[in-house]
């Protein structure tokens, strides 16, 4: 059983014990521990259950590659599932709970699956749940959903109380990995005057060298690392980041680095995670190598660990994996574990070496230390239930039939060699070569990922480059299965991917069933698809696949390495963008007033516009009716500040306006307004609004609320990229002005009450004129235009005085019962008048002619944007759907978007239709439902009754009528 040694542990402080709980049981570790070393130190080797078979599982590794030991961490607002215990720093009061079992970790009902393993082979789900099809939705899917997933999701109603942020950083050289190779690379670049960022995913620098006790430049690795790190930290051009993992390398030197600022200090007043968005000239991957497990029966039992992880726990944390430890290996490096444990007084059962002879220096040292070395041997099978009790040994080149010895031990270290961590090299397209001697993939320096200048921007150093520092050691023996000709019974218990429960036999089955591509095999067997993304299993798995396919490993190739290297938090990805700053909320100068008056909001782009202003006890529909009645009978106010206002000015402005709009705008007289349409080059309606000519060379274009930025960009595009010799400037003045529509029979009286230097009388200020001057002491430009059919003025004042002006209008209108109205009242009133709305009557396929707007299309102009598009065959077809008014026979409101079905099917087998509803409202003015729609040959079918789909699935009859339902003669607006 694992335990804390009496001495040792370079990272822990034995004077600072820390209490934590695992599944409610209090345990004790020390400051400097990881949760993994804390658990192992407390004798907890069983930490979870596997995904598919619910097999008991323990800690395998000491770092990010850990596949098994995932726990639910924290509780309530800080609960997070699937956290690796090996990368979790211990803190006082930490609460962890194991996952994927019921009712308890020790007794798990799901473990029955382990007895059923013969019936759960690779592709089990695909094979079993494919038929009968009807069972999928109500039987198979719910069952699979219940059993799928590892940890439980955080409670949906609970909010993460921590804060997160991002940071844009720039450097010449980004070094990922704070081992010796990374520190050297950082120093070299820093001394050359480059801007350097050095990251290390753990809290400590030094990598393997400080554990394995190398000497560097005549001093211990530990003192060398401390000295170099201090030097780096003292340099102005260097940023040193512990607890920061480079998660991904992306195009053109972009890298994401994930800093776990405060995971080890929960509740500290700091961002929990910070995502560094780094743009680097060069990225140096000093990401080291990961030890490979060996594939033998029972290699997933708690107590079977990577050999190097065993010495990490011993050296760094003073924790022994067991009382009596056996080591199985195909290389010399694993002997270091035996030697280090032996030095610390831990009994070594034996080193089991697959090689015919173990003749290197390290085996010699082991023998000299009295450690038993068994050559040409393999672990046939690990004995034990929830922990290791012993190992059966057989000859390596055998089928495992003959056990020559059973070795008693309570922990087993395994080493199948090392694989360079090439993820960062590969994320952005760096290619790999197979290294025969080391039996691993390493970066091909001739095929790096390419940057913006076409040159490579990633390099690998140290172990990540395949330089394992094992010069002088005896050659390793590639071992992909142990024993080499293991029988089916053994292969079916030899795990490749312990997290997803994929075994040697599963990959072999996939190959037999025809899966030749490694990418397909991965998805079929789920090998390498777990949260560890196959850090331990990929090379072993593709070696097994290659063998089954009878081809060399490089021919099989690797699966794709995708970011992130290990999972990063959603909080870090979100950064500061939560709550009120989740996305920009655009506010008009009167926004606060609307809010204070309890406006019900309607999102329009990033704006929020009042939909209506419900009073106490009033429904939204009632509020809308009240607002319309008040406006039509007396006067109402609309905050129209969101309307786009774009200035077009210059000697060629008239010519430009004539190209932008379908109508003639160059002949508009100064002081006048004109409604205009803009189309794209397809001829489809894009935007509309009132244009005012401000002076000889200046026009002001009003656009829709959502269209201002788009239309401004559209204008700049044409001026910069097509007509660059035209002398025209456009300036987006949308936010410079608060714009308020004063609407209703009393509108003029309200404005007159404010007082000013503008003659508002009907004779001197007719419909479609504009004037400027002062109203109530505020500089104002007044447009006499109407979107409601009422006497109406739109007044633009400087935005800084918008609220003051709004309040002056409310005061002046009080005697008329003035009230603000929202977007819904605006919509209903425009629909009563039959005015179109971009986005309702248009959907990107509608031309002005469809909306009977031919009057707004100039016939005098040779060209305008969209003119050629409108000449296309489909656009001039007599069969187009055209705008009409629709009145239900029963006065009800048609469903929005309802289609008018016809008998029969079209060429695609769909129901034939002859029209659809584009706008539909209850009109309080008329006391019935009104609608507009596009109907086949509509204008020629006035009076005809056609059927539309109703909300209940039936149909509702509506009469085709003129779209203008109210005051056709326009008497109300021309007063």
């Amino acid at each position: 059983m694992s335990h804390r040694l009496g001495t040792g542990g370079r990272l822990i402080d034995r004077t600072r014990p820390l209490d934590f709980t695992f599944n409610g049981k209090t345990m004790r570790g020390y400051a400097g521990d990881t949760l993994a070393s804390g658990l192992l130190g407390a004798g907890q080797t069983l930490v979870g259950r596997s995904f598919k078979y619910h097999r008991p599982r323990g800690i395998v590794a000491s770092g990010a590659e850990e596949p098994n030991a995932l726990v639910g961490l924290g509780e309530g607002q800080r609960f997070e599932p699937n956290q690796r215990v090996t990368t979790t720093e211990l803190f006082s009061g930490l609460k962890a709970a194991s996952q994927n079992h019921w009712p308890s970790l020790e007794f798990d009902v799901g473990a029955i699956n382990a007895k059923l393993w013969r019936f759960l082979p690779a592709g089990f789900y695909y094979k079993t749940f494919i038929s009968p099809r009807p069972l999928w939705k109500h039987v198979y899917e719910p069952i699979i959903r219940r059993s799928a997933g590892l940890g439980k999701a955080p409670d949906a109603e609970t909010r993460d109380i921590d804060r997160y942020e991002q940071l844009y950083a720039f450097c010449d050289v980004l070094v990922a990995g704070g081992g010796v190779a990374g520190i050297r690379a950082a120093l070299e670049a820093a001394q050359a005057g480059k801007r350097v960022i050095l990251t290390e995913q753990t809290a400590h620098f030094g990598g393997r060298a400080v554990v394995d006790g190398y000497e560097i430049d005549g001093q211990s690795a530990e003192s060398w690392v401390d000295a170099q790190l201090a030097a780096l930290q003292g340099m102005d051009n260097v940023t040193v980041l512990p607890r920061t993992m480079v998660a991904g390398v992306h195009d053109h030197g972009y890298a994401l680095a994930y800093e776990r600022v405060a995971d080890h200090q929960p509740g500290a007043d700091k961002p929990r995670h910070r995502l560094w968005r780094v743009r680097a000239g060069q990225i140096v991957a000093a990401t080291g190598a990961i030890e490979r497990p060996l594939s033998f029966a029972g290699n997933d039992l708690p107590g079977v660990m990577l050999a190097a992880a065993i010495r990490d726990y011993a050296v760094n944390f003073g924790v022994a994996a067991g009382k009596k430890v056996a080591i199985v290996t195909n290389n010399d490096d694993a002997y270091r574990t035996a030697l280090i444990l032996n030095d610390l007084g831990v009994s070594i059962a034996a080193v089991i070496d697959a090689r015919a002879e173990a003749t290197g220096d390290l085996p010699a040292k082991a023998r000299a230390a009295g450690i038993r070395v068994i050559e040409d041997a393999a672990v046939r099978k690990v004995e034990g239930g929830k922990s290791v009790t012993g190992v059966q040994l057989c000859r390596f080149n055998s089928d495992g039939g003959a056990v020559f010895e059973t070795l008693a031990c309570d922990a087993l270290g395994m080493s199948g060699g090392w694989s360079p961590v090439v993820h960062l090299w590969s994320h952005c397209g760096g290619k790999l070569n197979w290294d025969e001697a080391g039996a691993f993939f390493r970066p091909d320096p001739n095929r790096p990922p390419l940057g913006h200048d076409g040159k490579g921007f990633v390099s690998c150093v140290g172990a990540a480059n395949g330089d394992l520092g094992n010069e002088g050691e005896a050659p390793m023996l590639p071992v992909w299965l142990m024993p080499a000709q293991a029988s089916y019974e053994l292969r079916a218990k030899a795990w490749l991917d312990p997290q997803n429960d994929v075994k040697v036999s599963d990959v072999q089955l996939a190959a037999r069933e025809g899966y030749a591509s490694v990418e397909h095999t991965k998805r079929y067997t789920t090998l390498g698809m777990a949260t560890d993304q196959g850090k331990l299993s990929n090379i072993n798995g593709l070696a097994i696949l290659s063998d089954a396919l009878g081809q060399p490993i490089p021919q099989t190739g690797t699966t794709t390495f995708r970011p992130p290297y290990t999972p990063i938090s959603l909080g870090a990805i979100t950064g500061e963008a939560r709550g009120e700053i989740f996305q920009p909320l655009r506010k008009t100068p009167m926004h606060g007033w609307h809010e204070a008056k309890g406006a019900h909001w309607e999102p329009v782009g990033h704006w929020r516009r009042p939909y209506c202003y419900p009073k106490q006890g009033e429904s939204h529909a009632e509020a809308v009716s009240r607002e319309i009645n008040q406006t039509r009978k007396a006067v109402g106010l609309l905050d129209a500040s969101t309307l786009g206002k774009i200035l077009v000015k210059g000697p060629d402005a008239g010519r430009f306006m004539d190209m932008l709009y379908t109508n003639m705008m160059s002949n508009l007289k100064v002081g006048k307004c004109r409604y205009g349409l803009m189309c794209n080059e397809n001829g489809f309606l894009s935007d509309d609004g009132v244009v005012a000519r401000l002076s000889e060379d200046t026009w002001l274009c009003h656009t829709t609320s959502g269209g201002a930025d788009r239309i401004h960009a559209w204008m700049e595009d044409w001026l910069q990229c097509e007509w660059w010799d035209w002398k025209v400037h456009v300036v987006n003045l949308t936010e410079q002005f608060a714009q308020i529509a004063v609407v209703g029979p009393k509108a003029r009286q309200v404005l007159e009450k404010l007082g000013g230097d503008i003659d508002l009388s009907a004779d001197s200020f007719p419909f479609m004129d504009w004037k400027e001057g002062h109203l109530g002491g505020i500089a104002a430009r007044i447009f006499r235009i109407s979107f409601s059919g009422e006497l109406s003025y739109e007044v633009a004042v400087p935005a800084s005085q918008g609220l003051a002006f709004w309040e002056k209008l409310l005061d002046a209108g009080e005697e008329f019962g003035i009230s603000p109205y929202g977007t819904e009242a605006l919509h209903v009133m425009r629909a009563e008048k039959g005015f179109i709305m971009i986005g309702d009557e248009t959907d990107g396929t509608v031309i002005p002619q469809d909306l009977n707007l031919n009057w707004a299309i100039s016939k005098k102009k040779d060209d305008f944007l969209g003119k050629r598009g409108m000449e296309r065959e489909a656009m001039v077809s007599p069969d187009r759907w055209k705008l009409v008014g629709l009145e239900t026979l029963d006065g009800s409101v048609l469903p929005d978007g309802a289609l008018a079905p016809l008998p029969g099917k079209n060429a695609n087998g769909q129901q034939e239709t002859q029209g659809r509803v584009t706008s539909t409202y209850h009109s309080p003015t008329l006391g019935k439902g009104i609608a507009m729609g596009l109907v086949h040959n509509g204008p020629e079918r006035m009076g005809e009754v056609i059927a539309f789909q109703s909300a209940s699935g039936g149909t509702v009859s509506a009469r085709i009528v003129d779209p203008c339902f109210f005051d056709k003669a326009g008497e109300k607006q021309n007063v």
Binding site: H250, D251, H252, G253, Y254, R279, L450, G451, H452, D453, G454, E681, N682, A713, E716, D717, Q720, C721, E722, W724, D862, D863, K867, R868, G869, E871, R872
Partner: protein
């Protein structure tokens, strides 16, 4: 995410400051053009695997449009230039030829 240099304001910035405007050097065909010309202008795009001339706007920066030659496979940027031109400048064409001898050339 690409790293682009705006030739109008000299800023080198990440892609999020820019917006892409599709293929560059399209010739506009208006009223009087044939269906084939109009179709070529509106719909036919080269969509090459390799050297591509494209429109970009420094939307969050100086607001100016510019043109750029970029490799759609390697993402190498060969150069950016002013939008007020009907074909790529000679120095950029030369640079592409030097980097991609097999390139069939503009047009």
């Amino acid at each position: 995410m690409l790293l682009l240099t705006c030739p109008c304001c000299g800023v080198t910035a990440e892609e999020t400051e820019f917006s892409n405007g599709g293929e560059a050097h399209l010739k506009r065909f208006g009223p009087g053009s044939t269906d084939a010309e109009y179709e070529a202008y509106m719909f036919a795009r080269k969509n090459p695997r390799g050297v591509h001339f494209e429109r970009w706007r420094h939307a969050f920066g100086c607001g100016k449009w510019f043109l750029m030659a970029r490799d759609t496979v390697t993402l190498e940027v060969y150069g950016a230039y002013k939008a007020q031109t009907t074909e790529p400048p000679a120095d950029i064409v030369d640079k592409i030829k030097a980097r991609r001898p097999e390139w069939e050339g503009y047009k």
